[in-house]
């Protein structure tokens, strides 16, 4: 059975400090949900409240309609993978995996069968008799996941499980988790501060910041239509470019004037825009380095070059000293100190009010956004 999890008006306080304020969200059965946010945003606390390791001060949590926030952790039908693995150090791998099953008096033959199957799936069959101190970090991580799998829980909870692995192993484990997800039909909640993990694994992402949910949505929705400046900044690498712009209306759509005087026609409707002076956000891949001045929006001087192989990131400085990261082809001929022509894609930019609220291009809008003026 797989869990449909309902979190209703949940609040968590430590003394006078509120770490989660009136959180409500619903996780569908079989969904891979990622809690994403900076450290201290309360994402781990929320996960631990679902697990039963932290008390719920207000609100309620239900799994498949059954309220669980007053049950002890073991009675909630969940399994958790901890950041530091939390493997029992004095037990062998097999004993680690069996412990949770023995505690609920599962038959030994069933335990053996489940361990065998999980070990096969995770390729740790040859490690079953080893003690945790004879395992590498990656192997320990597999054991921790195996220990969760054998319990056949209604939902898996992952608390930053990849953060203790080295970069190469992290990428590999990420892929394996995605594969695992297809094999084990179960709800999964995954906490991370790594937006790439969130983007690659999630069905939906919950972006948390400052005690509250900023946005819930699919990875591409979060990426391309962030509801706030915080989400726009937090998701995506390199970080989205932000420029203070003046807004004028051009046929109902906003036309932004950059600090260096350049103008960019967007297809964001001016109706509903609260201010004349706003922040324009645009991702590096929507700022291209072009050869002809006629096609460019403005120009910038290259400060730093990052050659990533398939593409090159140019950290440029506009005439007014504002910094814009632009993208060029992998074999970019730009050099540090060069002045390059930058073409901004007016259909891929966002505007942010002083309260951080985001305004996006109207869906299916047909403004002449591509005809960017160059001054």
């Amino acid at each position: 059975m797989t869990a449909q999890i309902e979190i209703k008006n949940v609040t968590k306080r430590y003394g006078s400090l509120t770490v989660l304020d009136n959180i409500s969200l619903s996780i569908a059965a079989n969904e891979f949900m990622v809690f994403l946010g900076p450290s201290g945003c309360g994402k781990s606390t929320l996960l631990r409240m679902i697990a039963g390791l932290e008390a719920v001060d207000d609100g309620e949590i239900a799994i498949n309609g059954r309220r669980i926030d007053n049950l002890p952790p073991g009675k909630r039908g969940l399994a958790m993978v901890f950041q530091n693995y939390a493997i029992y150090p004095h037990m062998s791998v097999a004993e680690n995996m069996a412990f949770g099953l023995r505690n609920i008096s599962v038959e030994q033959s069933v335990i053996d069968a489940r361990i065998k199957e999980a070990a096969r799936m995770l390729e740790i069959s040859h490690l079953l008799e080893r003690k945790p101190n004879q395992l590498s970090g990656g192997q320990r991580q597999r054991v921790a996941i195996g220990r969760a799998i054998v319990k056949e829980p209604e939902a898996f909870l992952f608390d930053e499980p990849l953060s203790n692995l080295d970069a190469a192993l992290r990428v590999r484990t990420r892929v394996e988790l995605a594969q695992l997800r297809n094999r084990v039909a179960s709800t999964m909640i995954f906490v991370t501060h790594d937006q790439i993990e969130a983007m690659t694994l999630a069905d939906r992402i919950v972006v948390l910041n400052n005690r509250k949910i900023e946005q819930i949505g699919g990875p591409m929705e979060i990426y391309s239509r962030p509801v706030s400046e915080f989400v726009a900044r937090f998701v995506g690498s390199p970080t989205m470019n932000f420029l203070d712009v003046d807004i004028a209306s051009e046929g109902g759509f906003a036309r932004a004037t950059f600090p260096d005087g350049a103008k960019l026609q967007t297809n964001i409707l001016t109706t509903g825009l609260p201010e004349k002076r706003m922040k324009l956000g645009i991702r590096a891949e929507a700022v291209k380095c072009v050869s002809e001045a006629a096609a460019a929006t403005t120009e910038g001087k290259v400060d730093v070059l990052e050659r990533l192989g398939d593409r090159t990131l140019l950290y440029t400085r506009l005439a007014d000293d504002s910094v814009v990261v632009a993208e060029d082809i992998g074999l970019s001929r730009a050099r540090i100190g060069d002045t390059v022509h930058l073409a901004f894609d007016g259909t891929a930019c966002h505007l942010f009010g002083s309260d951080g609220k985001a305004y996006h291009p109207a869906e299916g809008a047909s403004a002449a956004g591509r005809e960017a003026d160059h001054v």
Binding site: K75, Y88, R147
Partner: protein
């Protein structure tokens, strides 16, 4: 050559010199570093190693307070084996270790488990239970004499309320060792408790959280998580306490003076009587060596048994 140039040349010369002494000796032992352990070694050798060797030497002589006497080989050891009082003292000592070490190890663990939490009450109680350890043996025995003494003692008073006769912990031959053991456990419980507490605090919190999610109840958590995690400390506590309790002296001297009829006479007390009351130094030295070997064997056996049972953890 200008001033600046000559200075630079001199600096370079010095540098070269410094470099030379620095690299030439890199793998050679630096004996002056031994000075760091010298203060300790001085006291260790003069106050422990030399007296130990001197004691072995003494035990082979018919020594008294004034002279080392003539060499009699294992004569003193022979006398010990034929001395019923010594054999009684050996038995008494083993009996006392058996009476005191298990309660110290178990009650200490119980207290540590109960007080391993971050509340003010727990902190106060930790201090309270440890506080008896700082008392001198004189005070401890005085307190327990007041508790145990017939007719006026605390125990007698409490039993008196129910018109009962209290157990005579200071005079009943079957109870004196138990009485001394009770006082000793009360006195020594602080150290095991503190050792257990520090071990308990080393156990990562996540392991308990994982166990909670694994449906482990209190007993299973204690049995399968906590105890295996502090196994080394349990062994340590038992070894320390065996070594300490083999050396019982003050409590027996002050509470019962070894009586009645040598029922509470431990080996150290016997050594004291032989060497410093009867001035039969050679015999006392021989008895000390027997005690030394006994402690050594007990500690080694304990250590090896636990090693064999233990794993590669």
């Amino acid at each position: 050559m200008s001033d600046a140039q000559s200075t630079r040349a001199a600096l370079a010369r010095n540098e070269r010199k410094g470099l030379k002494t620095g690299t030439a000796n890199i793998n050679a032992p630096r004996w002056r570093n031994a000075l760091f352990i010298a203060p300790y070694m001085v006291f260790f050798v003069t106050l422990l190693v030399l007296p130990m060797l001197w004691n072995i030497w003494l035990s082979l002589h018919r020594a008294d307070a004034f002279s080392i006497g003539r060499f009699i080989g294992i004569g003193n050891y022979d006398r010990l084996l034929n001395d019923a009082i010594f054999l009684k003292a050996v038995w008494n000592t083993f009996y006392f270790v058996l009476l005191s070490v298990p309660p110290l190890a178990l009650i200490g663990l119980g207290l540590a488990l109960a007080l391993n939490r971050q509340t003010r009450t727990a902190a106060a109680l930790r201090t309270f239970y440890f506080s008896s350890s700082v008392l001198s043996v004189t005070i401890v025995t005085l307190i327990w004499r007041i508790v145990f003494i017939g007719q006026f003692g605390l125990l007698a008073t409490i039993y008196g309320w129910f018109d009962a006769t209290p157990p005579a912990f200071l005079s009943d031959p079957d109870l004196v060792m138990i009485g001394i053991a009770i006082a000793t456990v009360w006195w020594c419980i602080g150290l095991p408790m503190m050792l257990y507490l520090s071990a308990l605090q080393q156990i990562p919190k996540e392991i308990y959280e994982a166990a909670a999610l694994d449906n482990a109840g209190r007993w299973r958590t204690l049995r399968y998580i906590t105890l295996p995690s502090i196994k080394r400390t349990v062994i340590l506590v038992v070894i320390i306490q065996i070594v300490m309790q083999f050396q019982l002296f003050g409590q027996a001297k002050l509470m019962t003076n070894g009586g009645p009829n040598n029922e509470s006479l431990p080996i150290v007390f016997y050594i004291y009587q032989m060497a410093f009351t009867r001035w039969d130094i050679g015999l006392g030295a021989a008895a000390s060596e027997v005690l030394f070997v006994m402690i050594l064997i007990a500690a080694m056996v304990q250590f090896m048994v636990s090693r064999k049972k233990g794993d590669a953890q």
